[in-house]
């Protein structure tokens, strides 16, 4: 399978806490991207990390990539109620396709 597999399937935290979700994949990648989906809407791109990068930051987001373990993690710091959504990782294959998993459903409780 070329898809990213997100873990955990669901995560519930209090506002202000940090949220960490993980992604595993099986193929060689050019980059790995994280997307968010709010209920009833399309996915929105959050952050991209290249295969030769190990860590990347964007605002309250921190992404790590370990190509030897074929895994990535997304950390959202100081979570807000508005962060409630489903999060998906997409490994970008050599054919420039993104394959997603079932996502992590994050609930941030105010």
């Amino acid at each position: 399978s070329q898809q990213g597999e997100e873990d955990p399937q669901a995560l519930s935290i209090q506002e202000g806490e940090n949220a960490t979700m993980n992604c595993s994949y099986k193929t060689s990648i050019n980059n790995l991207q994280w997307y968010r989906q709010n209920s009833g809407r399309g996915l929105v791109h959050l952050i991209l990390i290249r295969s030769n990068e190990r860590e990347k930051h964007s605002g309250r987001l921190r992404v790590t990539l370990d190509t030897s373990k074929k895994s990535s993690s997304l950390l959202i710091t100081a979570s807000r109620a508005a962060d409630t959504a489903s999060y998906f990782c997409g490994p970008l294959t050599g054919a420039n396709n993104l394959f997603f998993g079932t996502g992590t459903r994050l609930t941030v409780i105010p």
Binding site: G42, V44, F88, G90, A95, N96, F100
Partner: protein
């Protein structure tokens, strides 16, 4: 720039009928993708166009599904005849092939298909 537009937003049809979904990508985006999400399951890759050519259609479920992108602009996904298991939300996404933002997908809002 305008986003990715999908039509219809919701379609309810009976088993055996035909439905055609349309996607208008962002102008200048050569890559166009179709995905499907059945409730609670993964966002499943269906196929990838580069301009008008099918780059990868390995995710298409069967020959009841036909995708086209004539002229390399908008795309259609036809399901004929529809079956109950075809129900789900069909997402279209597009991206540039080169330059800034290459291969970063912009998604449409999706077309929800309900087959009764």
């Amino acid at each position: 720039e305008a986003g990715v537009t999908q039509f219809p937003s919701h379609s309810v049809i009976e088993k055996g009928q035909t439905v055609t979904l349309r996607c208008d990508p962002i102008s200048g985006h050569d890559n166009l993708y179709w995905y499907r999400r059945v409730m609670g399951k993964e966002i499943k890759f269906l196929l990838h166009f580069v301009k008008e050519s099918k780059q990868d259609e390995s995710g298409m479920p069967n020959n009841r599904f036909l995708a086209e992108r004539t002229g390399g602009t908008y795309s259609t996904l036809k399901v004929q005849p529809a079956e109950l298991e075809d129900s789900g939300v069909y997402f279209c996404a597009s991206s540039r092939r080169q330059g800034a933002g290459a291969n970063v997908l912009t998604f449409g809002a999706g077309s929800r298909l309900t087959v009764l």
